[in-house]
Symmetry: C2
Subunit: 369 residues, 2 copies
């Protein structure tokens, strides 16, 4: 599978939900597989908070493959020998699409905190423009987890006849205060970090030395991506070293994990992008713009597959269940699977083998027993 | 009920679990009710992370009564017309007992980061010395919630014949990595705050302007004290103002709650005390010093009452259940109640009416139906 990152540039205005306009803008994307003659085999992949367009395959010199490589590829559940798969980077992200660090055209300076607030609706609208530019006017399926699952569901409502199948994992119909509170840790930690400097830090300075605020916010994030059981299994009450017990900053293994991962993460991710994307997650609400959730959901024509994870402490299974029950009552096409897992929210990234058959069957129109 | 804060000074050494010595030290405490002639009516109250000795009653000019006032007083579940109630401030806390900001005797400078790491075992040992000084050599009961519940259980194991009844609420037998991870947010946020200055901030400077690091850590704390349901009931997805949606720092009500409470809190609590107390919570493990949890638990002679809250996301009911099952198998005296509640961990402070009868009956040797 030859890999290439593309960037599509748009000079027409993108009308945002806030009433503001983004112009010009760009979308980074990757594709896998080949478009068939009637363009009927397209699957769109939507990523989560810190994901990128690089969902599958491995570039030369890369240590790890794309974030959903176990799911996407020849012979895999999302089979690139059959389907033409497109994965885009969301607006606002620091991995190639237009972000707060891009120029506030026609000025030659970055937007920074003047970047417009983006919503999930804005993100998918931009993706739809990209697809149009590629000559794709209908999708076979849209698949995404977490914030990607929000995008998939928003597509189903805003563009009811655009995709045949929607598969949303580890997601919700509207972000609940529990999740907004977790994001608040990051928002305050970044905002109050002196090095954030009200968004005026030097571009890419974080690559040298990550922002403490982002690392701290990310610790809260990691808590919400794991679960009490996954932490017990992974770390227990083990110490990094035996002296840890009576040293104030002596560390348990769970603490080392948090430090290591979050310090590294803070060197990879732009703090402004992080703020704008968590804001988009916070404001996600399928009913916005419609009279009620029920009215929004009634618009859906696609076949909906909802997959939740029993131990997900960020988007709880009952949130997906609520949506499923509504679809059922409306006699809309929907299936719901609650996967047994100890891995917490992260399960949608790490326990692919627990749900890939569901996705495969759904795409191949086979029943899942 | 006349209120008075007492401070007991000790000039004999306190031998700590770390091998270090604290000398001299002091313990702040309050008492309610009267000691009977044979000193058989004493109940010790143990507080949680940010509590103080001020568990009940109200001082002149105070807006709020003590933190467990609904439980402790004349005619209440812990009836001060019958019982002599003692409530102490834990070692390490900034509310009157010896803390990192006290002098590192004989030096005339505060300990700060040279303060010894304290454990729950150390805290209760100091309380036991206080009781001895007061001429109290046996307790009728020890009652505490959260970290207070840890102290109650530790008393039962370290001093098996010291108290007749142990009542532990919203607690655990050993702090799990989930909780350590929440504490890690505060630990890193405080430690990396430039104003923390490696512990060298001016004494009481936080009262003027609270440390951002503590406020941020406390947001994570508040998440763990609430629950998804309590947040839904309390805040839903409401905005503080309608502009909030499209302003990056526009706020949901849950965000305002977090900001308001944590900024205030950071002006009330010393950051070093916070670090030392969360460390004591992290290291809590009833089995430490014994061959196993089973061996530790077998030492208990007291009648144990364990109360957990269904929606507690900090110390999950199954942790208390684990301990109860062990006590049951050993044919030790124990009862366990899991209280229906949406309030999360905070229920032990705010839903007194849901468990006060259990405590009353237990203290009066009546059965709870």
């Amino acid at each position: 599978m030859k890999l290439e990152t593309h960037v599509a540039h748009f000079t027409s205005p993108l009308y945002l939900e806030s009433g503001r306009i983004l112009e010009p803008y760009k979308i980074a994307y990757e594709t896998y597989g080949s478009l068939n003659q009637d363009a009927s085999n397209v699957i769109l992949i939507c990523h989560a908070l810190t994901g990128s367009a690089h969902a599958a395959g491995r570039y030369e010199n890369e240590k790890k493959s794309g974030w959903w490589d176990a799911l996407i590829g020849e012979g895999k559940a999302i089979d690139t020998s059959k389907y033409f798969v497109i994965s885009t980077n969301v607006l606002g992200s620091c991995f190639g699409s237009t972000s707060p660090m891009d120029y506030d055209y026609p000025k030659q300076t970055p937007f920074r905190l003047k970047f417009p607030v983006l919503t999930i609706k804005d993100m998918i609208k931009a993706q739809k423009h990209l697809l149009s530019q590629l000559g794709i006017h209908h999708l076979y399926a849209i698949v995404g987890g977490s914030m990607g699952g929000m995008q998939a569901l928003q597509f189903a409502i805003d563009y009811p006849n655009f995709a045949d199948k929607i598969i949303s994992l580890a997601s919700t119909y509207a972000t609940q205060p529990w999740t907004i509170a977790f994001n608040k840790v990051a928002m305050e930690a970044i905002r109050r970090d002196p090095r954030f400097d009200n968004g005026n830090y030097a571009k890419d300075a974080f690559k040298e030395k990550g922002l403490d605020g982002l690392a701290i916010g990310r610790i809260a994030g990691h808590i919400s991506y794991l679960s009490p059981d996954s932490m017990n299994n992974k770390f227990g009450r083990n110490y990094v070293n035996n002296d840890g017990l009576f040293e104030l900053f002596g560390r348990y293994e769970v603490e080392r994990y948090m430090e290591y991962n979050t310090n590294n993460f803070a060197k990879l991710f732009d703090p402004l992008s992080y703020l704008y994307i968590i804001k988009a997650i916070n404001t996600f609400n399928l009913s916005r713009g419609y009279d009620s959730l029920h009215e929004a959901v009634l618009r859906i024509n696609a076949d909906i597959t909802l997959i939740s994870f029993k131990s997900d402490y960020l988007f709880f299974p009952k949130e997906m269940e609520h949506l499923y029950n509504m679809l059922q009552r409306n006699k809309q096409n929907a299936s719901y699977y609650e996967i047994e897992s100890d891995y917490g929210h992260d399960a949608f990234l790490v326990e692919i083998e627990k749900f890939d058959t569901i996705i495969k069957n759904k795409l191949n129109n086979n029943k899942t027993p």
